[in-house]
């Protein structure tokens, strides 16, 4: 069992980094003190927290996984990748979840927190994410999507369809990567989650080729798209993933509008395949239904069989 700190020591530490007023130190203290078994020997692969307070749920999820310091070293530079593609309801990562991750990164002693995107600022503003990032004291690093010089060519030795990616150079200036997609429907391949979100780091023209082999034919090659996504995931491994499964579209994705599922869940973990596999079950699918998840499993990126995955679900 990890060391539990007393209330006095906790408040002292929180005050030092000026966090207590922002987060609600009593809540954090409760977590540390026992309402959630934060530092047990139990190894959890996926933490699922339900509740209407998304900040609390996000914090609880990482506590179930062993606490934020397990993932974010002191003085590290943290890159965060939320999904901010559209402002339609149920299509973008909720600002509260991003706020919680920024605050936790600060608790862990991160030196710098950077939200990365090649989408224009107007998308960030329309979703409220720009305001959330800036109010929490993180940096919004927007990369010009049409400037190829801002992206670094990265070979994909294990790529079966995709042989080279173009990852934004800014990404490589960070020590920790937190992947923050929203899970939702996608007309291109029926599902999006942690693996697909990495397209947000990749040069958009390169992404375009996922949908269209050789730029010319077979626009509807779903398997090709999913293979490219799985290939992309072999060169980038997030430190931690938080999936927004609070309110998301189950039709007309990725842009919406569509039918909303309102589950109020935050899903967190490291195993991308397992997390995406779990998320498919949230709206009546199975992991094997999604080619991308199968391809990720074939690449040994994680576990597709949920019976082999330790999932802890709590409700706040």
């Amino acid at each position: 069992m990890a060391k539990k700190i007393g209330r006095r020591e906790f408040v002292k530490k929180s005050a030092k980094i000026g966090v207590s007023a922002a987060i609600g130190s009593s809540f954090i203290y409760e977590l540390v003190d026992g309402s959630v078994h934060a530092f047990g020997k139990e190894k959890i692969d996926i933490a699922v927290v339900s509740g209407s307070d998304y900040i609390k749920s996000t914090i609880s999820a990482v506590e179930l996984l062993g606490g934020v310091r397990k993932f974010i070293p002191k003085d590290s530079k943290v890159a965060i990748l939320p999904n901010t593609q559209s402002r339609h309801p149920g299509t973008y990562t909720k600002p509260e979840i991003v706020r919680a991750v920024i605050r936790m990164s600060k608790i862990a002693g991160a030196r710098e927190i950077n939200c990365l995107s090649w989408l224009a600022r107007k998308y960030w503003e329309a979703t409220g994410l720009a305001q959330a990032v800036e109010e929490e004291g993180a940096n919004l690093k927007l990369i010009e999507s049409s400037d190829e010089s801002l992206f670094k060519p990265v070979p994909i030795p294990q790529g079966k369809a995709l042989k080279e990616a173009r990852i934004m150079k800014e990404f490589f200036n960070n020590d920790v990567f937190i992947n923050m997609p929203i899970t939702k429907d996608h007309a291109g391949n029926k599902f999006t989650g942690t693996m697909k979100n990495l397209m947000g780091l990749n040069f958009s023209k390169n992404n375009r080729t996922f949908h269209k082999e050789d730029w010319k034919t077979n626009r509807s090659s779903i398997e090709y798209l999913d293979q490219c996504i799985a290939d992309l995931n072999t060169i980038i491994k997030p430190t931690l993933c938080f999936v927004d499964a609070t309110e998301f579209i189950t039709t007309n994705g990725p842009f919406g509008p569509g039918i909303l599922a309102k589950l109020q869940k935050i899903v967190a973990g490291v195993d991308r395949v397992a997390i995406d596999a779990y998320c498919t079950t949230l709206w009546g699918m199975e992991p094997q239904d999604i080619i991308m998840i199968n391809k990720g499993y074939e690449h040994n990126l994680g576990e597709i069989n949920l019976e082999k995955v330790k999932i802890k679900e709590i409700k706040i």
């Binding site: 992404n207 949908h211 626009r219 090659s221 779903i222 999913d226 842009f255 199975e286 080619i291």
Partner: protein, 328 residues
């Protein structure tokens, strides 16, 4: 115009006071400006349309949308540029035959917002198809356009070559009322009408859930209804699907000629037989076979003349054959 103006002024000049002269001059100037403006508008509407003019004219004018006012400038995307608006979501629109879209936000004084998208498609069938793709069984049908559906916080309607989508950002009554107001204003501006593809009438009517009908123009559309295969095994160019109250779905895929349909049937039969996604393949006769998907759902596939006929779901062979007989 200047000469006419001068002549008119001069002929009355001897009899009028200075004030009266000024009033007469202003009046004539107003007439001249009005005529110039009308000439410009007339010329514009007859000149070859630019992209910008084609869709701009369908945006409701201020005053036609109640208290909802335009918020910012419209955005427009054409052809492949749709990808920069909706990324991977663009593919399904291209499959249906996307041409261009205009996007305009509307706002009310209390901060409520509605987003309007007017998609122009390649044909009325294309617009109908993408309309069926975006709507669902739960929505409320409205009397608008050729077909219209209201869901919790958004609305779609199809009219002629156009699909119109309106998105609110909450489910309040005020927002829903706003969706209808703006939609009606757009509807009034689109004059052309469309017709459902004749092909749709092949679906048996008994117990058909009308709002479940999907019209496909390619494999992505089909895959989103039922993921038969990730590859375009059917080489689908036109298809329809309807769900039935008894718990099964009927798919009809059309080919250009009987021979093409027959050839494709043999290839598809092999694909189902060899695929790991399906089990218990059974050839019933030369025009009908059945399989089970990995979840145990029964699938019956037949062909007749130019069409493939497929039934998926809670159904037995005898019933499936009856349905095929009705369609043929």
């Amino acid at each position: 115009m200047a000469i006419l103006f001068k002549q008119l002024s001069d002929s009355a000049g001897d009899r009028l006071t200075r004030v009266e002269k000024r009033m007469r001059r202003n009046f004539i100037l107003s007439i001249a400006l009005f005529v110039s403006a009308m000439s410009f508008l007339l010329y514009s509407s007859e000149a070859p349309s630019t992209f910008q003019q084609e869709l701009l004219k369908y945006l409701p004018r201020e005053g036609k949308t109640g208290e909802w006012r335009r918020d910012g400038l419209p955005q427009e995307y054409r052809g492949e540029d749709l990808y920069s608006y909706i990324n991977g979501g663009a593919e399904i629109y291209h499959e249906y035959g996307f041409k261009q879209v205009i996007v305009q936000d509307y706002i009310k004084k209390n901060g409520k917002s509605i987003s309007l998208e007017i998609f122009e498609m390649a044909s009325s069938e294309s617009a109908y198809g993408i309309y069926t793709f975006k709507t669902n069984q739960e929505g409320e049908e409205l009397a608008l356009g050729d077909k219209a559906q209201l869901a919790d916080y958004y609305m779609n309607f199809w009219k002629g070559y156009f699909l119109v989508t309106l998105t609110g950002f909450d489910e309040d009554e005020e927002t829903v009322k706003g969706l209808k107001e703006i939609a009606q204003a757009v509807d009034a501006k689109i004059k052309s009408r469309g017709k459902e593809p004749a092909f749709v009438s092949l679906l048996p009517k008994k117990d058909l859930i009308e709002q479940s009908i999907k019209y496909f123009k390619g494999n992505l559309g089909l895959y989103n209804s039922y993921p038969f295969f990730a590859q375009d095994v059917f080489s689908i160019e036109e298809g329809i699907k309807g769900d039935y109250k008894a718990g099964y779905s009927v798919f009809i895929i059309s080919y250009r000629a009987n021979e093409e349909s027959k050839k494709k049937f043999n290839a598809v039969k092999t694909s189902f037989k060899e695929s790991q996604k399906y089990k218990n393949f059974k050839l019933v006769d030369e025009k009908l076979f059945q399989v089970e998907d990995i979840k145990g759902k029964l699938i019956f596939i037949s062909h007749s003349k130019k069409c493939f006929l497929i039934v998926v779901g809670t159904i037995n062979k005898a019933r499936a054959k009856k349905i095929f007989d009705i369609i043929i």
